[in-house]
């Protein structure tokens, strides 16, 4: 159950499938987008809260 699907980091990056296509670009771009949007949202809210906190003070 816990076997690595890829042998090396390079392979994990390319993610070549059995049919010969490499799907790495899709998977990694989705990961990038998800993490970026989550991080940006967290950052924006934190900053807005701290700025309004300063205003109230």
């Amino acid at each position: 159950m816990f076997n690595f699907a890829f042998d090396s980091i390079g392979e994990a990056f390319i993610m070549q499938s059995a049919n010969g296509q490499s799907h790495g670009i899709y998977v990694w771009s989705v990961i990038f987008i998800v993490f970026l949007s989550l991080a940006v949202t967290f950052f924006v809210y934190k900053r807005k809260i701290s700025s309004i906190g300063k205003k109230i003070k």
Binding site: N3, A5, H23, Y26, S29, V30, F42, I52, I56
Partner: protein, 243 residues
Amino acid sequence: MIKKFIHQFASPKTYLFQVDRAYSYIFYISLFIYLGSLFWGLFLTSEDFVQGNSYRIIYLHVPASFISQSLYLAMAFASAIFLIWKVKLSAYLVKSIAPIGAITTFIALISGSIWGIPTWGTWWAWDARIISTLILFIMYLGLISLHDSFTDYEKADKFLAILVIVGSVNIPIIKMSVEWWSTLHQTASITVTEKPAIDSSMLYPLFGSMIGFAGLVCCLVILSSKLQILTREKNKSWVKNYV
């Protein structure tokens, strides 16, 4: 009696203090679960027989699309509480969930369309699920712009709550009708084929990523509602002490 109960426990003040205590626990635990199950799903599961490695997007896409719909449900619930018992906190929650819902729907849409490229050969298909997600996205944006157009917060809260409830009645109808419509085009367009029965080795990380993502979104909602409470109640004395 219920009204009294709700009003006591749903004052923005107690909510904020409770939530502040819980926030860091929720954040770190769910981040850990999310990253862990993503790692599990992305690297430790075997390749899907039909879709190849591109199926691994499921661990990012499905949680987002699931949460985006649940958030609307949560909003509808909060709106009902607001309209029935006039609890201010739930109005704040409705307002603060809307942008988070829009972001998760956006993630679901983008990840879905990227997933479409290797699996269906196109990034956009007139498929029932895609269309209803897109409509959900537009509805979220509509809710946000409705609330933003009114300077009188009390009015804006009321209108937002009404629109959320009307929309929540409509969302299942939209889904049903779009599915009904797309059966027409079965032959013409590419549809998402039924998911192959998922192997349990793929199911566990999927569950994990759902829980983790839900926790992170929960943190976002907390932040967003905190911002909302601080802006709306900035003249109250407890807020001054709190900051």
